[in-house]
Symmetry: C2
Subunit: 391 residues, 2 copies
Amino acid sequence: MLNFHFYTPTQVVFGKDAEEETGGLVRQFGGQKVLLHYGGKSAKESGLLDRVCRTLEQEGISYVQLGGVKPNPRLSLVREGIDLCRREGVDFILAVGGGSVIDSAKAIGYGLENDCDVWDIFTRKTLPTGCTPIGAVLTIAAAGSEMSDSAVITNEDGWVKRGFNSNYARCRFAVMNPELTYTVSPYQTAAGCTDILMHTFERYFTPVTDAALTDALGEALVRTVIECSRVVMREPRDYNARAQIMWAGSLSHNGLTGCGTLGDWATHQLGHELSAQYDVAHGASLAAVWGSWARYVMGENPARFAQFAVNVMGVSPRSSEEETGRLGILSFEEFLRGIGMPVSIREMGIEADYTVAKELAYGCSFQETRTIGTFRKLGLKDMEAIYLMAK
Amino acid sequence: MLNFHFYTPTQVVFGKDAEEETGGLVRQFGGQKVLLHYGGKSAKESGLLDRVCRTLEQEGISYVQLGGVKPNPRLSLVREGIDLCRREGVDFILAVGGGSVIDSAKAIGYGLENDCDVWDIFTRKTLPTGCTPIGAVLTIAAAGSEMSDSAVITNEDGWVKRGFNSNYARCRFAVMNPELTYTVSPYQTAAGCTDILMHTFERYFTPVTDAALTDALGEALVRTVIECSRVVMREPRDYNARAQIMWAGSLSHNGLTGCGTLGDWATHQLGHELSAQYDVAHGASLAAVWGSWARYVMGENPARFAQFAVNVMGVSPRSSEEETGRLGILSFEEFLRGIGMPVSIREMGIEADYTVAKELAYGCSFQETRTIGTFRKLGLKDMEAIYLMAK
């Protein structure tokens, strides 16, 4: 087990009517002038935005609004948010939405607190020294951004997607009412569940395999999410299943499922490039490549995939770890298909021929300047091969 | 699943040589004059105290020392600590030790920050409005006080043991090096593991049984601790097993294993009375009564005990949930015996005849002014019955 730091300061307020506490929480964390940041019209039409505004008004907190965050949130809106916040003297950013809105809020917060171009932080040219305090009212269970240290932004100039992690950007609070996720479409729900599962997978398929507690917690989380994903596909308004998924989304990416291990993150990098170039849903991009990644790397440690197959997917052990592991991968892909997720790039409507695979790999390798992954370190040729396997 | 709040702001620094970071952490959290609080001579003799002091000196942080914390930490030393801190202008308390030392530090912190007699907080006469910042260097995996909101103090005047919980007292940081627990005696190690297990049991055996993720995480934690307890009984210097237990100790009592459920805590209350009257190790007192408590209350929800038996203890389901549940209880008691824990009061050297059971029940019921438990609410007569069953 590796040494680790664990830091999850976000105050979670979870359950029915939790959004009623929003104003009080902003007050508690010192917010006086708030940027209310959100996505499309659903937050408005559902009445959620109004309810949240009312709680701010009840606390005498003034606010300005900036909507329009898109999935794979864009740098241009982040810049617009930074300008708006500067003009208005904003000291607290309240994200009402899913991971995209929260990530956009984090990027605005970095921009406000650091005297540099915000994109320089995402390209690691400048190291941030702070971030404006952020709170979240979560409406989609997926990215885990409400408790995580990470933010991912897409620069439309070249469609480059880059993430940056730091504790500065951890939300001060996260308001989570599972009922708010009832109206998330089946496709987005499934993509969200996939993202949640992948946040644990990225920490579970690792060269460090002696963190028994972290393993067991990760396996428990994944089993629960798989079970509850199937339930919400049949019954979108099942409170309890929505609640397990929503809470799992936070725990899957707040660090808990990676304590003492080394993250892999290759699947995320492979998926990010697909999202950046084709603007597909993040979770779907991960579903499309994971099986191919898994088959490509399994030889490094078949025992790990066999453990996954048995403990998570309920596969009976076969004569070899490879065989057990392969059945685990297959069983997980069947689960993904069952909830309507693609398990190939073609199933997202993209023809990934050899030229496309080469382009994706070139982008994913940052123009051949980096490798990805730790379970198995992957170079340009490996990425090409995986994209081709996944086509 | 019930609504819940989850708040675990403690910064965890976990692993080999973690104590080297202590001074820097105190500095990070603004400590300028520190009370170094510890127990007996082991922290001194092992050289740990010197190493910790060196890290404070390197940061230019001055400190005063107060040792002598005993298991079931005493109010008189708390009062002494408060006086010392007032005289010396202490603004940060550093607990080097196990749960008793951290609890004592929390009580000192309450006393310093609140203008009342500190015992009034533990008897709920006065509600605290703050607590001096606390950091912990953990040397025993057991109480989970390094991440929990709770502190338990014993008033020698009448040997009354009382706990108080509030977020004010959550440690700013916790330094956890599993190697520091190598020298904990087998008995104290086993008592610690029992305490860890019970912190999850108290949240798992609850009337709220629809929190599937919390259940699964709790079961995973308990299975891991059981397995690793057996390992450290054979091999006290097994780093990895010590590490799993240490991390489980924090997660078992920081709130994670109770999200969305209702705690029971009857076993703790029954055990506290035993510790208060007979000064026995906390974990051992829990081991001595849990099986009797379990048999006494199982009828309320046999399915819960059957789930525990199957998912945690590996019992094959029998013809009735009661039978499966009983086998789970028995199997857990066998585990306790295997690591040298008592499963009756007699095995702690106390003859709990009818008079003693009555006295214990009277104390545990706060002179017949309260009930305990939520899985099944227990009055004076129930407590008597359980103490007698456990004798």
